[in-house]
């Protein structure tokens, strides 16, 4: 991989230097970035497909080993984060939703409350915030754990024992994170909507709880539920893929681990934003 990258970079530099009038340093910079981006994209796509293939092909393999690991990962990427998510849900409700509700009430626009809440919280803020928090808390840990395991030769040890590292190390993390992001998003949305109303109630906004939740339920349709599930599972899946790819898919030394962790988190954020953009298009089309 690294050798191929070096070859590509050498070739690219030469070609651009010959053809483009821009100073060499700019072309070098852009070329490197572009090819690195394309190679990373290629690597991530390949890794995602390999993981999916292993997940489906070995679904029944070593269940007594893999299923406890999946439960452990769900606990780590879901249950263990619940207290933090409840706190964030409260904060989100108080800081954003409560103020939005009272602002809409002041201008007599409470009729738009349901659709505003659904667009802001259910479709956008809830899933994206949940994904970012899981990426920060669990994704970073994935890169460090897997990177350290790789640097210490544990991956080679698994291979020597005939254990597929993707099956043993990646599949539980991918499933755990997909389930975790989905479940935490649901809790975050419910918590934020409830605490948002609480804040509005404390500000004497003339809105009954029945009206508030009726407006929200009326603004929701079946597509919101389907796309919310797909989006959060996609967030979890791709965060796990990006973080595991950087931790596992290339030979590492211990000193590389911190650098790789930063890169993985950055790419995780970018991937989440891209997925979010894709789902906005889906919402607009449907």
């Amino acid at each position: 991989m690294r050798e191929n990258l070096a070859k590509v970079l050498t070739l690219t530099n030469t070609q651009i230097f010959r053809r483009a009038p821009l100073p060499k340093s700019y072309t070098d910079f852009l070329g490197r970035k572009l090819f690195l981006f394309l190679l990373t994209l290629q690597g991530l796509a390949a890794f995602a497909l390999i993981t999916l293939g292993v997940l489906l092909r070995k679904f029944q393999t070593a269940r007594n080993v893999i299923r406890p690991r999946i439960r452990q990962e769900i606990a780590r990427a879901g249950v263990a984060l619940l207290p933090m998510f409840l706190f964030v849900a409260l904060a989100l409700g108080f800081l954003v939703i409560g103020q939005t509700v009272s602002a809409l009430a002041r201008v007599g626009a409470t009729g738009y409350l349901g659709s505003t809440m659904v667009i802001a919280v259910v479709r956008e803020l809830g899933p994206l915030l949940a994904a970012m928090l899981v990426l920060a808390r669990v994704g970073t840990a994935h890169v460090i754990e897997l990177g350290t395991a790789r640097a210490l030769g544990e991956v080679e040890a698994l291979e020597a024992l005939g254990i597929d590292p993707v099956h043993y190390l990646i599949v539980p993390r991918v499933i755990g994170m997909a389930v975790g992001v989905f479940a935490l998003t649901v809790y975050l949305i419910i918590g934020a909507l409830a605490s948002g109303y609480l804040f509005a109630f404390l500000q004497d906004v003339p809105l009954t709880p029945g009206d508030y939740f009726k407006q929200i339920t009326e603004a929701l349709n079946w597509l919101d539920f389907v796309l919310l599930a797909l989006k959060t599972v996609a967030f979890g899946f791709f965060i796990a893929i990006v973080t595991c790819y950087h931790g596992l898919a290339q030979p590492l030394r211990l000193e590389d681990v911190s650098r790789v962790a930063v890169r993985a988190v950055t790419q995780g954020v970018i991937v989440c934003v891209l997925i979010d953009a894709l789902f906005i298009l889906l919402y607009l089309v449907t």
Binding site: E3, A62, R63, N64
Partner: protein, 261 residues
């Protein structure tokens, strides 16, 4: 013995060995080697002579850059899911153990058995307990690898490699940094395994070790080879090693024995 029993379990023909980190970097060339069942080989070489890469290739963890490497008559290039059973006949012990630090020693040892036979921890426990007892690891079984000394980590790695009862045992510099007591224990156990230990039903095990110090293997190894200048040189028995005029062999024999009390 029948012809099948005498067939080489490891066979290399004109093999070039690449480095594990960068396969295109060749560390050994033109290796021709044949190992019969039950043989005990000691492969010596200085640091960075390619011993670990050679062992990785022998275990089927990487393909040769050139030539043909066979395990039990099967080309290791074709080793995949379908040939997993044959691959599991090879046990590999890394220098330093390379245990999984998140698991206890008991879990480390039981993992291959649980994974390949789809067993619960309770079902795999008796086999793991027997092996832990044999390797005197029972008191340390519930500790994680980071909480035991290198000597015991190395033993735990041996237990993990033995749990599936391999026919070939490959050990990468197993005596490196061991204390005197552990060193003699290792030499005795490897000799017993090679001759046929009661634990594996008296079946002789093929053993290949690498080392950068030949002296401890005087009474253990029965066939010796040297890695030097990217080449593999079979040396013969201990008498041939002692009588060899090769300066590197002299050097490997003269290395002071490291004893950590």
């Amino acid at each position: 013995m029948s012809e099948t029993e005498n067939a080489a379990v490891i066979e290399m023909r004109d093999v070039s060995v690449g480095a594990m980190r960068d396969i295109s970097f060749v560390v050994l060339e033109d290796v021709n080697w044949s190992v019969a069942p039950g043989e005990f080989w000691t492969v010596a070489g200085q640091q960075y002579s390619g011993k670990s890469d050679f062992l990785m290739l022998t275990a089927g963890l990487m393909a040769p850059v050139k030539g043909e490497c066979k395990l039990f008559g099967t080309d290791t290039r074709t080793f995949g899911e379908a040939k997993l059973a044959e691959r599991l006949y090879v046990g590999l012990v890394f220098t330093g153990g390379q245990l999984f630090n998140q698991l206890t020693i008991r879990e480390n040892v039981a993992l291959p058995l649980q994974y390949h036979h789809d067993l619960t921890p309770a079902a795999a426990a008796p086999a793991a307990a027997t092996l832990l007892e044999l390797l005197e690891l029972t008191p340390l079984a519930d500790l994680t690898p980071t909480n035991v000394s290198d000597n015991w980590r190395q033993r735990a790695a041996l237990a993990r490699a033995l749990i599936l009862k391999p026919k070939i045992l490959l050990l990468d510099d197993p005596l490196a940094g061991l204390g005197a007591r552990h060193l003699h224990w290792w030499l005795r156990l490897l000799d017993q395994l090679s001759r046929g230990h009661d634990w594996c039903g008296g079946q002789p095990m093929t053993v290949v070790v690498t080392t950068d110090d030949l002296r401890p293997w005087r009474n253990a190894g029965r066939k010796f080879a040297l890695l030097r200048d990217k080449k593999f040189f079979p040396l013969g028995g201990w008498n041939d090693v002692e009588s060899a005029n090769d300066p590197m062999v002299k050097e490997l024999l003269a290395v002071p024995l490291e004893i950590i009390s």
